[in-house]
C-alpha cells in the first residue's frame, strides 16, 4: 500500500524546479483555475485505501452523528384529591442534515391509573438557523378521556428557539378517525445564577370538538451538573369545553417536585 516515495519527494524538494518565475505576468484580476478533483494522493497510494480514508475524512469533518436522551420533566405532582406522576422527554439522533426524534409523555393519577400516555416518532429537518420541521406519527397508549381505545395520528410540527431565547414547539395532529387537534408549548430559562434557573412554561392543547386544556408551570431548578437538575415548582391546569360540561374538575393546582436530566 505504501509506495516508495523517495523519488517523488526529492523531486518536490525544489518547488520552483522547471518553472521560469520571471516570465509570469501579474494579471490585474486573473481568472481562477478550473476546480480539479482533490485526488493527488491517489497517484502515490492505493486508490482504494485513499477512498476509504476520504470517507472517514468526511465523517470526521462535518459528518458526525449525534444523539441525546432527555427527561425535561420527571415529577411528582401533589394536589387536592389524588396525587399524580408525570413524565415528558425526548430522544434524538442524527446529523445536521436530519434527525430522528422520539418524544414521549405521560401522566399517572393515584388510584386512577394512566391519565395520558403517548409517544411520537418524527423525522426532523432544519429549516433556518433556529428551527426544525418535524413530521411523523403519534400513538396514544392511554387515550384522552373523551375517546375510546388506543389512537394513532399523523403529526406535523416544529421545534426551535424563538427570539428572546424562548424555546417553542408546536404540532398539528390528524387522528385515525379524522379528528384534528393541535398543541403548542413555550418555555423560558431565567438564569438567576449560573446554576439556579427559574423556568416559566405554558402549554395549550386544542381539539376539533372545542375541548381545550391550558397548563402553566413555574419550576425552579438547580443544575448540580448541566445534565442533572432537581426542581420544585407549581403547575396549574385548566380544561375548557366538553370536558368541563361532562362534570370533570375544571382546573387543578399541583405542587411539583422532580428532576430534569439528560445524557
Amino acid at each position: 500500500m505504501i509506495l516508495d516515495l523517495q523519488h517523488e519527494q526529492h523531486q518536490a524538494a525544489d518547488p520552483h524546479a522547471g518553472h521560469d518565475m520571471g516570465s509570469m505576468k501579474p494579471a490585474a484580476e486573473a481568472a481562477p483555475p478550473p476546480v480539479v478533483t482533490p485526488r493527488a494522493a491517489d497517484r502515490l497510494f492505493d486508490p482504494k485505501a485513499m477512498a476509504a480514508a476520504r470517507a472517514q475524512l468526511m465523517v470526521e469533518h462535518g459528518g458526525a452523528s449525534v444523539w441525546t436522551v432527555r427527561a425535561d420533566q420527571l415529577e411528582y405532582r401533589a394536589r387536592k384529591g389524588a396525587d399524580a406522576q408525570a413524565f415528558e422527554g425526548e430522544a434524538w439522533w442524527g446529523t445536521d442534515a436530519g434527525k430522528w426524534v422520539v418524544k414521549a409523555r405521560g401522566e399517572r393519577i393515584d388510584g386512577e391509573g394512566w391519565e395520558k400516555g403517548e409517544a411520537e416518532l418524527l423525522k426532523a429537518w432544519p429549516i433556518g438557523p433556529y428551527f426544525d420541521l418535524q413530521a411523523g406519527v403519534r400513538y396514544d397508549l392511554a387515550p384522552p378521556k373523551l375517546s375510546k381505545g388506543g389512537r394513532s395520528y399523523a403529526a406535523l410540527g416544529f421545534e426551535g428557539l424563538a427570539p428572546y431565547w424562548f424555546e417553542v414547539q408546536g404540532a398539528a395532529y390528524l387522528s385515525d378517525r379524522g379528528d384534528v387537534s393541535a398543541r403548542a408549548e413555550a418555555s423560558y430559562d431565567l438564569r438567576l445564577t449560573q446554576k439556579l434557573i427559574l423556568q416559566p412554561r405554558v402549554e395549550a392543547d386544542l381539539a376539533e370538538a372545542g375541548a381545550a386544556t391550558l397548563e402553566g408551570g413555574l419550576r425552579l431548578r438547580y443544575e448540580i451538573t448541566r445534565e442533572f437538575a432537581p426542581y420544585v415548582g407549581v403547575v396549574r391546569e385548566r380544561a375548557f369545553g366538553p370536558a368541563v360540561v361532562a362534570g370533570e374538575r375544571a382546573g387543578s393546582t399541583a405542587v411539583v417536585i422532580g428532576v430534569r436530566a439528560w445524557r
Binding site: E8, A27, A40, A41, M50, Q56, L57, P163, T193, Q194
Partner: protein, 562 residues
C-alpha cells in the same frame, strides 16, 4: 502508568501528569542547558500508543507518542533530510502525524484522506522529507480527535547558518488543554447544549448587581438570540490548562541565570483554547511568529490561538522567580509555569481577570450600536446582500454586515488591560519577501457558523462530498480574504505553505495560521508554490470536526501538464 493525587490537588486544577514518567525529558521542570533533550538525526522512530493516566481514582485516556505526553521534542537542522518512522500501536484506530508549519511534499503532510491513507493499527509509515526551513514548529495527530487526548509535541529546527535570534538559553513552552471528558463527549454535549461549558453566563443576580450588559442590551441581544459571554466553547469548567504537560499546581519551572537572554518558544498545542500570555515583571520581546523571524516587538502580553507559535526573548536580571501566565481567553482558568534562577522558587499567581463580553463589533457591525441606521447598507443579521455567494443554510446564523480589518486592534478581551499588548499589525518580517509580485486575483472565504446548532463551516457548507476544493494555479500569487461572519475567533491554518499577512507592514509577516477576530476580516497574500492537495481548516479542533475544513488544490503536480 498510574499516578495518585488527592482531591484537593485535582480541584485546584493540577493534572499532575508531571510528577511521573509520562513527561518527556524536555518538558520536565528545571531542565538546564541551551537545548532541551530531543530526538534528532536523520532516522527517528515514533510509536503512537494508548495509555491510561489515573488521577485521584479517575481514569484519563491518553494517546501518547513513545510513552510521553506531550510527545518527544524533535530537533532538526535546516538542510538535512529526515526519515521519521511512525508505528501505530493503537488497538483499533488509525493514526497520523501532521508536521505543523513544515514545508514538505504533500504526501508527507500527514492528513488522512487528503495526503495519504493514514496509518492503520500495527502499520508503520515512514515520513521522509528534506528540511527546508528553521524555527519553532510542532506536530500533532490529524486523525479523529487524538490531538485533544495527548498526541502533540514540539519540533525545533535550527538554522543552517547563524540564528538571526541571539539567545543564551531556551525553553520550549507547550501550552495545551486537557479534559477527563472524552473529546467525542465534549463535541456531543456542545451539539446538544451549545452553551454547555460556559459557567460565566449573564445572570439575573448579575443584572441586579449592575454587572455585565444593561437590561436594554440584554433584551436587544436576546432578540437576536446572541450570547455576549460566548467567548470559548470548551472552558475551564472541564479543562485543566497545561504548560509542558504540567497542571498549574505542578508548576513547571524553567531556569535562568540573571542577565541571560532567555528564548521562550511558545507553542499553543491546545485543542480549543486561545491563551493570553504574560509574565508579570518581564517585558516580552517577540522575535519570531509561526517559526519565522520578525522585527523584534516588545510587549507585556500577547494572545496566541491554537496552532500558532511565538518566540519571545525575556531578560530577567533580578534573582527572583517570575510567573508565566497563560490565561484562557474566556478567563475560566489558566496555565501556569515559573521562570526562576533556582528550582523550588515561585512567584504570586495573578488572579484570573474578568471575562470579556462580545460587542456589536464582534458581530461584524463595525463600530455601530444596535438600532443605528446605515444608509445603503443592510444591517440585518442575515442579509444575502452582504454575502451574495454564501448560501443561507441552517449553518449560517449571521452574516457580518460590516466586517472590519481588526489586525491593528488588541485581540478580544485585551482592549483595556492597561499595558502593551501585541497586535498582528505590529508584526514585520525580518527578511524581504521572496515573491514581490502583486496578487493576480483575490478570493473571499467566509467563516460561517451557527452557535445554537454548533455548526461551523466555510461559506455556509460543512466539508463533505459536495464541497468544492479551493483551487490554486501552481506558483500563482493570490490574495485570500477571510471574512469572519461569526461571533467567535477562528484560527485558520493552511497546510504546506506560509502566507504573508496583509497587515500594513512593508515587510508582511509570514504565517501558517491566522486568528481571525470575531466580526473581523483578514487578508493574506499567498504564493501557491507547493503542488498537491492541502488541508485548510479552523484549528479549533471541534470547529474542524464540525465541518470548518476544506481541501486546497495546487496544480499542476510535478510531471503533470500545465
Amino acid at each position: 502508568m498510574m499516578t495518585a493525587f488527592d482531591r484537593r490537588t485535582l480541584l485546584r486544577g493540577a493534572l499532575g501528569l508531571g510528577a511521573v514518567g509520562l513527561l518527556p525529558a524536555w518538558a520536565r521542570a528545571g531542565e538546564v542547558g541551551r537545548s532541551p533533550a530531543a530526538l534528532s538525526g536523520e532516522e527517528i522512530k515514533l510509536t503512537v500508543g494508548h495509555q491510561m493516566a489515573t488521577i485521584d481514582g479517575r481514569s484519563g485516556h491518553a494517546v501518547t507518542v513513545n510513552g510521553s505526553l506531550p510527545g518527544p521534542l524533535i530537533r532538526l537542522k535546516e538542510g538535512q533530510n529526515v526519515r521519521i518512522a511512525v508505528t501505530n500501536a493503537l488497538a483499533d484506530e488509525d493514526t497520523s502525524i501532521h508536521w505543523h508549519g513544515l514545508l514538505v511534499p504533500f504526501q508527507m503532510d500527514g492528513v488522512p484522506g487528503v495526503a495519504f491513507p493514514g496509518i492503520k493499527p500495527g502499520e508503520t509509515f515512514t515520513y521522509d522529507f528534506p528540511v527546508r526551513q528553521a524555527g519553532t514548529y510542532w506536530w500533532h495527530s490529524h486523525s479523529g480527535l487524538q490531538e485533544q487526548v495527548g498526541l502533540y509535541a514540539p519540533m525545533i529546527i535550527d538554522p543552517a547558518g547563524e540564528d538571526p535570534i541571539g539567545y543564551d538559553r531556551e525553553h520550549v513552552v507547550v501550552l495545551s488543554d486537557w479534559s477527563f471528558l472524552h473529546p467525542h463527549a465534549l463535541f456531543r454535549k456542545l451539539k446538544v447544549n451549545p452553551g454547555h461549558f460556559n459557567m460565566q453566563k449573564q445572570t439575573f443576580a448579575g443584572l441586579l448587581a449592575g454587572q455585565d450588559q444593561s437590561l436594554k442590551d440584554r433584551v436587544a441581544w436576546g432578540k437576536m438570540r446572541m450570547d455576549p459571554t460566548d467567548i470559548a466553547d470548551v472552558t475551564g469548567s472541564v479543562y485543566t490548562y497545561l504548560v509542558n504537560g504540567h497542571g498549574p499546581g505542578d508548576n513547571w519551572t524553567g531556569l535562568f541565570a540573571s542577565g541571560e537572554r532567555v528564548r521562550l518558544r511558545f507553542i499553543n498545542a491546545a485543542a480549543m483554547t486561545i491563551f493570553n500570555v504574560r509574565i508579570p515583571g518581564l517585558s516580552l520581546e517577540v522575535v519570531a511568529v509561526d517559526g519565522q523571524p520578525v522585527s523584534p516587538v516588545s510587549v507585556d502580553e500577547f494572545q496566541m490561538a491554537p496552532a500558532e507559535t511565538f518566540d519571545v526573548i525575556v531578560r530577567p536580571t533580578e534573582d527572583q522567580a517570575f510567573t508565566l501566565v497563560a490565561e484562557a481567553s474566556d478567563r475560566s482558568g489558566l496555565a501556569r509555569g515559573t521562570l526562576a534562577p533556582r528550582l523550588g522558587m515561585s512567584a504570586p499567581i495573578p488572579p484570573v481577570r474578568k471575562r470579556p463580553l462580545a460587542t456589536m463589533k464582534d458581530m461584524g457591525m463595525g463600530n455601530m450600536h444596535g438600532g443605528m441606521d446605515m444608509p445603503g447598507m443592510d444591517m440585518s443579521m442575515r442579509s444575502q446582500s452582504n454575502a451574495p455567494d454564501v448560501p443561507l443554510t441552517p449553518g449560517v446564523q449571521t452574516i457580518a454586515p460590516m466586517p472590519m480589518d481588526r489586525m491593528a486592534e488588541p485581540p478580544q478581551g485585551l482592549e483595556d488591560v492597561g499595558h502593551k499588548v501585541l497586535t498582528y499589525a505590529q508584526l514585520a518580517n525580518l527578511h524581504e519577501s521572496t515573491d514581490k509580485r502583486p496578487p493576480g486575483r483575490t478570493i473571499e472565504i467566509h467563516l460561517t457558523g451557527n452557535m445554537e446548532r454548533f455548526m461551523w463551516a466555510f461559506d455556509g457548507e460543512a466539508f463533505g462530498p459536495i464541497k468544492k476544493p479551493i483551487a490554486f494555479r501552481r506558483d500563482e500569487r493570490v490574495r485570500v480574504v477571510l471574512i469572519n461572519d461569526t461571533m467567535m475567533a477562528h484560527p485558520i491554518h493552511l497546510h504546506g505553505h506560509f502566507f504573508e499577512l496583509v497587515n500594513g507592514q512593508e515587510r508582511q509577516p509570514l504565517k501558517h495560521t491566522v486568528n481571525v477576530a470575531p466580526g473581523g476580516k483578514v487578508a493574506f497574500d499567498l504564493t501557491a508554490s507547493e503542488p498537491g492537495d492541502w488541508a485548510f481548516h479552523c484549528h479549533l479542533l471541534l470547529h474542524m470536526h464540525a465541518g470548518m475544513f476544506n481541501v486546497v488544490t495546487v496544480r499542476p503536480l510535478d510531471g503533470e501538464a500545465a
